[in-house]
């Protein structure tokens, strides 16, 4: 059978093209559209070039919020990644106890985010919350609605509680994939527990750790619901992270031009940092 050239076959690509256009390109272009114009109403828009962008980059409130955001993500990664690995290492290798651990770990992941916020909002209250009340009874002066340090501590603790299980589950699956022969060889080679971790387990966790770090970075960098429910960004603006600032700008003040410009900057930051992480981890062990 000879091939019949028929360019109508290109039509078959159309559904995918349309789907991608409507799901990604069109919304993104709307944002781009807003970011370079000042729009007062239908048919009443003025092209302003890069003015919104310059404005946004100089905005003190946004800069503070960005700094806070980096601090929060750094803290989340610094706590959740090592803790997740540690939890995975301590979990039983198999049997009913392993299943039990897995179920317990999965529970926080299954709870809707605003419910997580609500749980901790009540749990950490000084008057009726077990955690807050307990801390106060133990002699700590703890009040997350009034004290910025306590607020930060509570938001971080909530995130650790909510998301460390994800890191632990990923690492656990990575650990289970290491053949028993490696542990036997290490035992024969008289490797210490630390050497086993450093030279056998950690290198073989690399791939799942890339995923864990990226997921935790992106999610924590875009966190909105839980702190919004828990502290509402307060006290003051001490726990107001980027998403919340952005939402206030776009929906609260209806400042669409600046919000659009800022959305794009936000998007680029997430992309850039994710790329940095990915490149750093995957190149860490290349042949010299």
């Amino acid at each position: 059978m000879s091939k019949v050239p028929d360019n109508r076959a290109w039509w078959l690509v159309l559904p995918v093209l349309l789907l991608v256009a409507f799901s990604a390109l069109v919304p993104l272009m709307t944002v781009v559209n807003y970011s370079v114009q000042d729009i007062f109403g239908p048919g009443n828009a003025y092209y302003v070039g890069t003015e919104w962008f310059r404005d946004v980059l100089r905005d003190q409130r946004l800069q503070e919020s960005l700094l806070r955001q980096f601090g929060f993500s750094a803290a989340v990664l610094a706590i959740e990644i090592p803790l997740g690995i540690a939890v995975a290492l301590m979990m039983p290798k198999g049997g009913i106890r392993a299943s039990l651990c897995l179920i317990l770990l999965a529970i926080p992941l299954l709870i809707p985010w605003n419910v997580v916020g609500t749980i901790w909002q009540i749990f950490a209250r000084g008057d009726i919350g077990l955690f807050g009340w307990g801390l106060n009874e133990l002699g700590f002066s703890y009040n997350y609605t009034g004290d910025p340090v306590a607020a930060w501590f509570t938001v971080l603790l909530m995130d650790v509680w909510h998301w460390t299980p994800l890191v632990a589950l990923l690492c656990y699956s990575g650990l289970r994939a290491i053949p028993e022969a490696f542990y036997q060889a290490a035992e024969i080679d008289r490797a210490s527990r630390w050497a086993v971790f450093r030279y056998i387990q950690l290198p073989r966790l690399r791939n799942v750790l890339v995923i864990a770090v990226l997921l935790r970075f992106m999610d924590s960098f875009m966190i909105y619901t839980e702190p919004f429910v828990l502290t509402g960004g307060g006290p003051g603006s001490s726990t107001t992270f980027l998403s919340q600032t952005l939402t206030t700008m776009a929906v609260g003040q209806f400042d669409l031009g600046r919000a659009a410009a800022f959305s794009l900057v936000y998007f680029l930051i997430v992309l850039l940092v994710s790329w940095l992480f990915f490149t750093a981890i995957t190149h860490m062990d290349k042949e010299r």
Binding site: A181, F182, Q184, A185, I188, R190, Y199
Partner: protein, 365 residues
């Protein structure tokens, strides 16, 4: 270095073994002497690897004792037993370079840095890995990986013993021969106790001074390659060692010895005496194909019909039927034997072995 002795040792992978068939290793006593080169030979699933893992400490025996120089080590980990083991499939630490891989056991034993460098270079030289030392282990080929794996076993000087679990499985035949020679040289040079597990008799006999043949969880014979060949004390050894294996003919008692079909095989007085004391009727007569003589017709020869001739280049294997039983006979390359002809066979008494219940009946003298 130490003498490794196993006392009333048995192992089962079941928690509650209900009978002898549940045991991977049935109760045995055995001593591996200091500085020997040993092979542990047997078919797959006979308990060789289990035995090795028990000696190294990766596995605790369910019964009995393992002793190094008389000291009980059952509870000691491989780390504390200070034993090296090379596995069947290469295990390399793939995030490390070849150098670091070889240095790893030394670093773990806190050997001084200069000594590590010396030792790694020495072993790399023996295994011809010098050019690869700076490479990451993950980028090596399978046989390079196995050499690295083997190098890690050889690099420590103070080990009690080095155990090899079919270490040349993934290596191509030419290199295999070379590495086996290397191991032998290393053994002669450093005088370390080595136990080499294999299912290949050629590998076993080129490497080892003494071979332990394992069968169904037991060591059925422990001896030099010659002893195993000339005087197998179990039918399995006769069958497993040699190529082709020993001819084993079921026989029954008769007046002055044993018989099969219409053939009487006279036995020495001594053996006849021993036979009379045995209750069993499971009797077999064994003779190696190499020792069956095709001769001129005469006293004590038996007529057999040739059914098949295989020419193996340096010699021929003749399959002949004698009283309904098939026999293998090894004849020289230049002898003319054709299918369908008859041969006069002679069994030299010296090479006829009698087995009762699969074990050799030995003359007392």
């Amino acid at each position: 270095m130490a003498e490794i002795s196993l006392t009333a040792m048995a192992h089962s992978y079941e928690r509650h073994p209900s009978g002898p068939e549940d045991y991977a290793i049935r109760q045995l006593d055995h001593v591996w002497h200091k500085g020997g080169a040993y092979a542990l030979l047997g078919p797959s699933g006979c308990g060789k690897s289990t035995m090795l893992n028990i000696i190294s400490g990766l596995l605790a025996p369910s019964e009995g004792e393992v002793r190094f120089d008389g000291k009980r080590v059952n509870e000691l980990s491989p780390r504390d037993r200070n034993i090296a083991q090379v596995f069947q499939f290469p295990v390399v630490y793939d995030s490390m370079t070849v150098f670091d891989n070889l240095a790893f056991p030394l670093r773990n034993s806190k050997v001084p840095k200069d000594r590590i460098r010396e030792r790694v270079e020495e072993i790399a030289g023996v295994l011809e890995l010098e050019s690869l030392l700076k490479r990451k282990a993950r980028n090596l080929t399978a046989d390079e990986k196995q050499k690295v794996s083997m190098g890690r076993g050889l690099v420590r000087e103070d080990v009690t013993a080095i155990l090899f679990d079919e270490p040349l499985t993934v290596i191509d035949p030419q290199l295999k021969w070379k590495l086996r020679r290397k191991l032998k040289q290393i053994h002669e040079q450093f005088d370390i106790t080595m136990i080499y597990v294999t299912h290949d008799q050629l590998e076993a006999s080129t490497f080892a001074d003494k071979i332990a043949v394992m069968y169904e969880g037991r060591i059925v014979q422990f001896g030099t390659p010659t002893e195993l060949f000339e005087n197998p004390n179990h039918t399995f050894v006769g069958f497993f060692i040699g190529s082709p294996g020993m001819n084993l003919l079921p026989v029954t008692r008769s007046g002055d010895g044993v018989c099969f079909g219409g053939l009487d095989i006279p036995l020495s007085d001594d053996l006849r005496q021993r036979l009379a004391d045995l209750q069993t009727d499971n009797l077999k007569l064994g003779i190696r194909p190499e020792f069956v003589e095709a001769s001129e017709p005469g006293e004590g020869t038996h007529l057999a019909a040739v059914e098949d001739v295989e020419d193996l280049g340096t010699y021929q294997i003749v399959t002949a039927r004698l009283e309904g039983q098939l026999l293998k006979i090894r004849v020289s390359e230049d002898a003319r034997v054709d299918r369908g002809q008859t041969l006069h066979l002679h069994f030299p008494t010296r090479w006829l072995k009698l087995y009762a219940d699969e074990y050799l009946v030995e003359a007392t003298s």
